[in-house]
């Protein structure tokens, strides 16, 4: 049986900049030039005011752990148990991710713990943004 890998994204024209960014080790968000709203996931207009004048910028990569589950179900590319997490970025938006570099237990994974983005290459085209605890 072939080795099973995690499902990988198929970027669309509207999300290219995000996946280009992760390939280069950057977390890229978008900001509305009119109302300054920062948002995710990507789209070429502001979800708050509908302006098409938006810019891509490099985010800090800092985040905190917002919520998660620790899945015990078998999943391609994962060894259970593993956390499926949502982090809140310092810039405001939230995104789903995995938490790298620490035990996948409720004791270690404390809500609101500080995190930083790390980039894990999957293929030549796709690099995923994961998050690891900030040492301190």
């Amino acid at each position: 049986m072939a080795e099973l890998k995690r499902p990988l994204p198929h970027p669309t024209p509207e999300t290219q900049h995000f996946w280009e960014g992760t390939r280069q080790g950057e977390l890229r968000l978008q900001r509305c030039d009119d109302c300054r709203h920062v948002y995710f996931p990507p789209r070429p207009f502001c979800p708050k005011c509908a302006s098409r004048k938006v810019s891509v910028f490099k985010a800090s990569g800092r985040a905190k752990l917002y919520s998660y589950v620790i899945s015990h179900r078998p999943a391609p590319g994962f060894t259970p148990p593993y956390a499926i997490a949502v982090v809140e970025l310092a810039e405001g938006p939230r995104m789903m991710t995995n938490i790298a570099g620490c035990a996948q237990t409720p004791e270690v994974l404390a809500l609101d713990m500080p995190l930083e983005a790390v980039f894990e290459k999957q293929t030549d085209d796709i690099t995923l943004a994961l998050f690891k605890p900030v040492k301190g």
Binding site: P7, P9, P41, S67, V69, R73, F78, P81, I84, L128
Partner: protein, 380 residues
């Protein structure tokens, strides 16, 4: 919408529930539809409106030999059938059709003739959630709950109690899949699925179906069964990605849909005798009780712990045993409405004495959508 003018005149589930390996998904729709037509004393040719999800209304209409003048294929998950009721009421009032059949059938366990799961890898959920190991609803629907629990100081024991109380109701229902009593300890000792969710906090996966027939309240008096009137309806959607919910402690779709239904019905919370809240997982009744306004934010777990929703309590909730113990085919909303209708016809296995107003509140996807129906057996 010209409200208070439409009624349920037919309601039935599939003959069997649970494991039905000898019927395809389409035939589960048909089995439920035929039972419902018999319940209403109608033939397929009497139906001129068809609404369904999971299958296309074209497939269902053609399979049953119906030529509709109105169809609705709204498919936003398990609450689609509540939304069909809402749309059907508007369509009947507008004269687009007179007699609507709403069907559900799902081979959730046997997977006979059913569709495939999973988002396209080019969809937003496919790009920004699926790569992180999401493996279906138990690992996705559950993600907001730790934030909810931290915000309000809710314990795992309180989450477990939701399943314990619903099992009490299921014990009164001969058609429930699981009927043996369970304790909080049993729930917390059951197999971990996705922390903090144990097996007994997750819904069943079964085969089954159900259907409803609606017509104008004026005509409803001429049918064999006691009419169940639609007093108010609501619907909304929020996001296809659980990670993008505006607030992990409350569902915007629940709040919008519930408020709309209460306003249309012109009722207060104290008027409600019986409540169904779609419970794919143990946290949903907590969100539902709060977002519908029966409890203040953070207080639903205590409300359930203190047995307000249990047999003998002041707000009987999920009296069929719910998705946790009765059955859950995948799109459970139809079964919640079936139980509301049974309660208001006075024929439920765990009958609430003198129930006059029942609410069925549904969720679609993972907090993605919502539909709410206020039913009454009193002519409006």
């Amino acid at each position: 919408m010209k409200r208070k003018s439409v009624a349920v005149v037919g309601a039935a589930e599939t003959t069997e529930l649970g494991l039905i390996p000898n019927l395809s998904q389409l035939q589960l729709h048909a089995d439920a539809a035929l039972n419902t037509l018999a319940d209403a004393g109608l033939k397929p040719t009497d139906i001129d409106g068809v609404a369904t999800a999971g299958e296309s209304p074209t497939s269902v209409a053609h399979y049953l030999g119906i030529t509709p003048t109105w169809v609705d294929g709204t498919s936003v998950g398990g609450c689609s059938f509540m939304i069909h009721v809402r749309h059907a009421a508007a369509a009947i009032n507008e004269g687009l059709c007179t007699t609507v059949l709403i069907t559900h059938g799902e081979s959730g366990r046997s997977r006979i003739g059913s569709g495939r799961f999973g988002a396209s890898p080019a969809s937003l959920a496919g790009q920004f959630e699926a790569p992180f190991g999401t493996m279906g609803p138990p690992t996705v629907f559950t993600i907001p709950v730790l934030r909810y629990m931290k915000t309000y100081g809710i314990t795992e024991e309180q989450l477990a109690m939701v399943a314990v109380v619903q099992r009490e109701w299921a014990g009164k229902n001969p058609r429930a899949s699981y009927r043996d009593p369970i304790t909080v300890a049993d729930v917390l000792n059951s197999r971990m699925i996705a922390y903090p969710f144990r097996l007994l906090m997750c819904c069943l996966v079964t085969d089954g179906g159900g259907a409803l027939i609606l017509t104008s309240a004026e005509r409803a008096k001429d049918f064999p069964r006691k009419p169940v009137y639609i007093l108010g309806t609501g619907e909304s959607v929020e996001t296809p990605m659980v990670s993008q919910m505006a607030d992990f402690t409350t569902s915007k779709a629940f709040r919008v849909s519930g408020k709309k239904a209460f306003e249309e019905a012109g009722i207060a919370h104290k008027d409600v005798d019986h409540l169904m809240i779609y419970d794919a997982f143990a946290h949903l009744p907590l969100y539902g009780l709060e977002d519908l306004g029966f409890c203040k934010p953070g207080e639903a777990a205590s409300f359930i712990w203190e047995r307000n929703t249990a047999p003998g309590g002041k707000l009987p909730l999920n009296t069929n045993g719910g998705g946790l113990s009765y059955m859950h085919s995948g799109m459970y909303g139809m079964y919640a409405m079936q139980e509301s209708v049974r309660q208001l016809r006075g024929v439920a296995p765990a009958q609430v004495p003198n129930a006059k107003i029942s609410i069925a509140h549904g969720v679609g996807g993972m907090f993605a959508a919502s539909g709410t129906i206020v039913f009454s057996n009193q002519a409006p």
